[in-house]
Symmetry: C2
Subunit: 175 residues, 2 copies
Amino acid sequence: MTSLGYLLLALLAQGPQSGYDLRKLIGDSPLRAYSNSPGAIYPALRRLESRGFVQLTKPEGGRRRQPVALTENGKESLWHWLHKPVTEEDVISNGEELLLRFAFMSPFGLQDLARTFLTQYEAANAAYLEKLRQHYQEHGADIPLTGRLAFELGLEQYDTRIRWARHCLGELDKD
Amino acid sequence: MTSLGYLLLALLAQGPQSGYDLRKLIGDSPLRAYSNSPGAIYPALRRLESRGFVQLTKPEGGRRRQPVALTENGKESLWHWLHKPVTEEDVISNGEELLLRFAFMSPFGLQDLARTFLTQYEAANAAYLEKLRQHYQEHGADIPLTGRLAFELGLEQYDTRIRWARHCLGELDKD
DNA sequence: AAGAGCATGTAACGAGTTACATGATTGG
DNA sequence: CCAATCATGTAACTCGTTACATGCTCTT
């Protein structure tokens, strides 16, 4: 299962949609970091179907809107994805997917799911940031100027994530 | 040419290295977001060779360190990559690669290359951030809580980039 | 001499890109 | 009724992943 697959499941959790609808949704929103090309979407939907996560209902005529619905298996797979623990590896290499997961958590329980996500997210980012700072202390002097500056942006980005996670936990307390 | 290809060219610009050296360099540094698996590195080096960007010198015996050197064509390709203009599309979908480019600019001219990069980078991020803010104004109310919070992190990240670019321009003035 | 780690290679597979194809619907 | 656009599909290609294979070097 790839990020795009889960994105499709998450979008379908809000009700059946056609492939075309999904393409529009992705292309017209900040999700456009993901691909909305037909060559990505339709094969992805077929894969989801072959795994039983999704049901395609063929229209009678030729080439019209073809609604896709989430199955029970699909719901379950989505649930597992949303509940996966946040690892440091994810934070390093899959930052986008983590954020995607969080963005679609609302219907599945704010107090449990979202809170533990944020706690783990903050911890994992803090742990890696600490390693980065250490690396910077040791090797920062050897790196040429632009490399050092790029490194500093990296540090800032992780710091932003940590502050954001704390801010979100505060927001969730307002319930 | 993929990001990994340019990363290899950039690393080789500091002198010939073996594939194994390159793998270590990538795995032991904050570049570890990139793959350092043999199945990625060695085929990538072969591709660079087949395009004439790199020269592999076979060692006489069997399976030993095999130094890889940047050719003139390779230097030129690297130069073009570093000089590519920063587009809004890059900022949206290729943020990592942009930062990679900047990180390796030092030897190629700070006052020209790095300055124009930063200026374009700031402008492109600001332009997209403006669109994101607009989107948030119009549709923010319809998005469930975690989606909205994820959106806010996105906004923060772009803002961080912009502040960083300005800070860097200030640093470059200290020459 | 044996085994751990060094260094490179490769095959099967999955998934996205680009580009093109195809049939239906709608507007002028 | 013709063109534009809607909606889906597909083939060729590229690249990275995973897992395994191969041979060398160095230590003990």
